[in-house]
Every structure is written in structure tokens, then in C-alpha cells.
Point group: C2
Chain length 250, copies 2
């Protein structure tokens, strides 16, 4: 996609902070010109931030339960996380709930995490200058680091089955809130995400209750997970992709 | 894409009003289950609504200037509309400015209109139950008609080069504003579009000035066109696609 003049243009001077609303739109960006932040608030990137904060050596994101199982067959000492329909799959260590990513469970471990939307977004962004992971948990640490990088920023919302969702967009808007005073050029999606964040920021949980996805997640009985994932700045670690592994940015 | 269970789900009872934020996301919907509204506020669908209101017999949307020229070679009596970089292409009758679509110019004529984003959206939606054209000009007439159809509604934003733009999304939000009291099930994009409309509705022109696209259009010197396209309810005709021709819905 490099040098595709039909793609999202970058400012000739200064830096851009763009928002890619779904993985289906990633081909419209020359990702190699950006640091990419992957966002999957409910619950993959929140759990990843929490796990890395709590000392996990690495987290390996995979798309399918079968890929996750394959790591067991390698005979190595991985923790395997896989869910279907909101329940831990038989034979796996745990699922995607951030409550599984405590110090006691993950310190010094490598976890293989099954996340369809998140892995899809990571895979499509692999040509980026760097890929880091964002969630409300590490919002300010991440935003501060982004401001200091002197690079264009692309916030990639993992969305839901390739389509738009509000929670990932709202988080992108929260990052834009911290970047926008630093002279970043914003695209329409960044402006929209930030405006939606203004509407929701006073009570994000309440704002998201009206969404279809929130309704679906409530039915899965993970309301406590949702509340956990909407906590702001309880971590400072920034997970970064190295090869296939997410590790703590040093 | 029919019966693709990964696609946007429809309510088992009642009707849905969904918003497709860019043509790149159309494959995520089973368009044959919807009436599709194509939206390209600056300026294709605004000019189409105005032209059909003013008695144009039909408007034929095409993607490329060359396709438009081909109609001249057919030897038929078409008006040809084509622009590049905001200027009428040499040898064409006029461009995409709505001011060209007055009664004097278009009554009883068939116009071939070059519009890349709009034609792309129409083409990808061709399996829909019906395809109609929306703009602020026919907002209430369109919304009232949609409410009376007993069908699912998909509002397709033509966007900009396959990506998100604020003006088309804001208009989708304005339609949702009129539909939402009628019990339509909304997806996250419809909720977001409607929330953005709440932010912008008091002065849409002012709200859109901060967008990247608004800046681009201002440079093209079409500020008067923009103001024209943001007028609400100055027309009542609803253009509908029949074959390759947009005609007045009877």
C-alpha cells in the first residue's frame, strides 16, 4: 500500500494523529508511516495491559482456539487463554477476563491469548513502525509516550467483526484528547472519536450501556469485566509487539 | 455475502436502522435485507436531489470522466457533468455544483453525473431491496418515507476515498434522529452518527469547518456550494435507482 496516493494523506510538516475506525479500513492507511496503537477495550487489550503490568513475560495473541492449543502441543510452559461465548474453553487455563491477569497468575509467565478482533487488527498493522497496545488502564502513560515519539500515530480500533464499535472509538477519542493540544493534524475520524469522547467521558460505562455490543456483553455476564476495563490509569506499562510476542516497552 | 453469519445481525422482530460509515464496510451487511440510502453530501447526492426536484427526467451516476464522455459518443441528448479538482472538465456541460441543477438547466433532461465516491457506494449496494438518495435538502421527506416502508434501513455514507467523513455521517445521524422514535433497532454506528448530529445540528456548517475535508473543499472555492448543500428540507423529491438511472420516486 506504500505510496498509494489514494490513501490517507499525511501532513507535509508536523505529525498526524489518525483514527482507523475498524480493521477493514487499515488498507486505506500506509501503516509503515505510523506508530500503530491497537485498541480492543472489551476485553483483549485491557487484559493485555493488565497482564504486562503484572509481570507477564510476554503475551502472544492468536486468532483461533486451535492455534492456542497448538502451543500446548509444543510442550512448552505457556498459560493458555481461550473463550467461546464468554466461557473458558475446556482444557484451557483461563479466558479473556482481566481478573485472570493478576500478579499471582501471570508473573514471569508467557500467555497465549485467543482474540479474534485484536489479532486481526495486529496482523493487518504489522508493517507499522511500531505496534503498541492501548486501553483505558494505561491511557495517560500511553498518550504521554506517544507525544514524545515524533512520529505519526494511527489508533486502530479492533471493532466487532470488522465493523465499528463505540467503546474502541471512545478510547481513541480519549487518546486524541491528550494529543490534540500538541499540534497533531487530526483526520475526520479522530475529530469524531474525540467528540464522542466528550459526550461519554463523564460516565463512560453509562454512555456505553446504550450500545448493541454492551447489551451483548451484559448477556454474557461480564459486567464486572466491563467496569474493570473502563478504569482509567491504573497501569503504566505499555505492551509493544516484538515478533509475535507482546512484551513490556522498556 | 448473503447468509454470512459474521455480518451485521438484524433484529428478529421489528426493524433496524443501521449506518454503514464507508463503502469499504458495505460487505459487512447483507444489503439485500435493506432499503439503502446513499449519502454523499458534498456534493453528489445534494445535486441529485436538487436536480430530480427540478424536473430532471433521470440522472445517471458514473465513476469516471471517460464513462461520462462515452454517453456523448452514443449520440444521445444527454447533459454531461464532470469535474476534476473542482473545475468543470473542458467539453462538459457542467460540474457537480448544485447551482447547475436548476429548473432552467435540467427540466426534462437526462444528466450523466461523474461522482467517484457516490457511484462506488451505489455499485456496492446494488443488491438492496431499493436504493434511494439522501441529502439535507430532502431530509424530512426521505425520513418520513423510510418510516412508512416496514423495511430495515441501511444508511450508506459514501465517505471520502472509501474512508470516513463527518458530513455524510452527520446527515445519517439526522435521519436517525427522525427514525429513532419509531422503534428502529440501532447499531453502534447509528448511535454514534446520531450523537455527532446532536453536537453539530445547531450550526452544521460551523461544526464541519474543523474537518479536513471542509478545509479541502474551501480551497476548491466551493463554500457557496457547501452552504447550499446544508440547507434542510428545501426539496421533497426522493431519487430512486431504476437500473442505472436515478429517477423520481412516484
Amino acid at each position: 500500500m506504500s505510496n498509494n496516493t489514494d490513501n490517507q494523506t499525511l501532513p507535509s510538516g508536523g505529525r498526524a494523529a489518525h483514527v482507523c475506525l475498524t480493521p477493514a479500513l487499515i488498507p486505506l492507511y500506509n501503516v509503515e508511516d505510523y506508530i500503530v496503537v491497537v485498541i480492543d477495550i472489551f476485553r483483549a487489550t485491557s487484559s493485555i495491559c493488565y497482564g504486562i503490568e503484572n509481570g507477564a513475560e510476554a503475551i502472544i495473541p492468536v486468532s483461533q482456539v486451535e492455534e492456542c492449543s497448538a502451543y500446548r502441543e509444543k510442550g512448552l510452559d505457556y498459560l493458555l487463554a481461550a473463550e467461546r461465548d464468554g466461557k473458558v474453553v475446556d482444557g484451557f487455563d483461563f479466558g479473556n477476563s482481566p481478573f485472570s491477569y493478576t500478579v499471582e497468575k501471570v508473573a514471569a509467565k508467557t500467555i497465549v491469548l485467543t482474540t479474534t478482533n485484536g489479532t486481526h487488527a495486529l496482523h493487518l498493522s504489522r508493517a507499522a513502525k511500531k505496534i503498541v497496545i492501548g486501553s483505558f488502564l494505561n491511557l495517560t502513560a500511553l498518550s504521554t509516550w506517544l507525544k514524545n515519539q515524533d512520529e505519526n500515530i494511527l489508533l486502530v480500533c479492533a471493532g466487532w467483526k470488522n465493523n465499528f464499535n463505540l467503546e474502541d472509538t471512545l478510547f481513541a477519542g480519549a487518546v486524541i484528547e491528550q494529543l490534540k493540544t500538541d499540534g497533531f493534524e487530526l483526520d475526520d475520524a479522530a475529530i469524531a472519536a474525540n467528540d464522542l469522547y466528550q459526550l461519554g467521558k463523564h460516565d463512560i460505562n453509562d454512555y456505553l450501556k446504550k450500545t448493541s455490543h454492551g447489551e451483548r456483553l451484559k448477556k454474557l455476564g461480564i459486567q464486572k469485566d466491563i467496569e474493570f476495563c473502563l478504569q482509567i490509569d491504573i497501569t503504566t506499562a505499555i505492551p509493544v509487539l516484538e515478533g509475535e510476542r507482546l512484551v513490556k516497552l522498556s
